[in-house]
Symmetry: C3
Subunit: 151 residues, 3 copies
């Protein structure tokens, strides 16, 4: 039985260190979406704002290749911030080190795969669905475990 | 007067436990938006990507029922992550237990109501506006209280 | 060398206090986007939902002034939640007080400037690009520093 939060949240705890490490990786992974979107905007000459389009003698337009990357980015916003919160709560349930680290790692890999098959190289389904579901169920598992622990 | 952060952030504190509990509920609440969107996509045969539409002999299309759920989801993304941050800061101002728990609880209920009247059963205004405003002002109150405390 | 997380995360630490303070400011900054969007919706009579448009004898419509504010809001959602996470991890690397506070402050100012030149008064590029890049590289710097520290 854990008596103090400091037995869980401390700078030597492998679970806490893993949480901070994978969170940083996921921050950087989300950041990649911005240059990926920019690349498609320039490649397809598709800018959203007149102040971006007009200096290039273009009109703002919508392009499906840009929208695809934007949907992948939005999917990150739908899934990654809630992972940070669910993962933090889950840590406080004092999970087994190996389980916790594996969940953080698999979630992180699944989100990279999601972007890869959605917005970099379009791979037929169910590749994107599986990558998405892997992250989704990990977040859900952690949130349910936290909820029951702190009920 | 609180001398140590451990008097606020610890595994026996009702405010901290409530924060972690309601945060997990809000994670799961946000997650519900994905199957709600999926349900509308299948019901209205409205898929965003060719790789989703073509195996069903459809073309990608936009459907208002799908867009409605997507707007509700986006509204969660606009309001729930900032609640996590505002709620965490607010805890550190050492609020009264009853007040803090009530704010967490009312925020959580308001967000469920928001989705219910926006994206499940469309209820005339001002139901959605009131549900949204309840959450908005709770987050604002907590952020302003934190800001003044840590000035 | 820091032995305990409490030497970093405590109610007297200037870095931690700054982190909580600027996080609250950023929560309130993000919240401003909602009334800014509402103002454009009323001014341009452009509502997204029939239940909002019909009582005013209007049909739902898309307006470029509304969309501009919505893009600025989405840009906040893309950049601010990951800053919260990157900033938290960065604090745990025990940065110099002055550096950490300056990064939090500059990030916060950059996000205000971004909204100002994007969605309040449209200023020609590269003003928006520079404001965005300032926040982006601060988040990236903090995430990379955290990642290397917790490797």
């Amino acid at each position: 039985m854990v008596n103090s939060i400091l037995e869980i949240i401390n700078l030597d705890s492998p679970v806490f260190r893993g949480y901070v490490f994978y969170s940083s990786v996921l921050v950087l992974k989300t950041m990649i979406m911005a240059p990926l979107t920019g690349r498609q905007r320039f490649r397809n000459k598709a800018f959203a704002n007149p102040e971006d389009a007009e200096p290039r003698k273009l009109k703002p337009k919508i392009d499906e290749n840009v929208e695809r990357v934007r949907r992948a980015h939005l999917n990150d916003l739908e899934n990654i911030p809630i992972f940070f919160v669910a993962g933090f709560g889950y840590m406080l349930t004092n999970p087994a080190v190996g389980t916790a680290l594996m969940l953080f790692r698999v979630f992180t890999i699944a989100r990279f795969v999601h972007t890869l098959v959605y917005a970099v190289v379009v791979v037929p389904q169910p590749s994107r669905a599986l990558a998405w579901a892997t992250g989704y169920f990990i977040t859900g598992f952690m949130a349910v475990k936290t909820l029951m622990h702190f009920l």
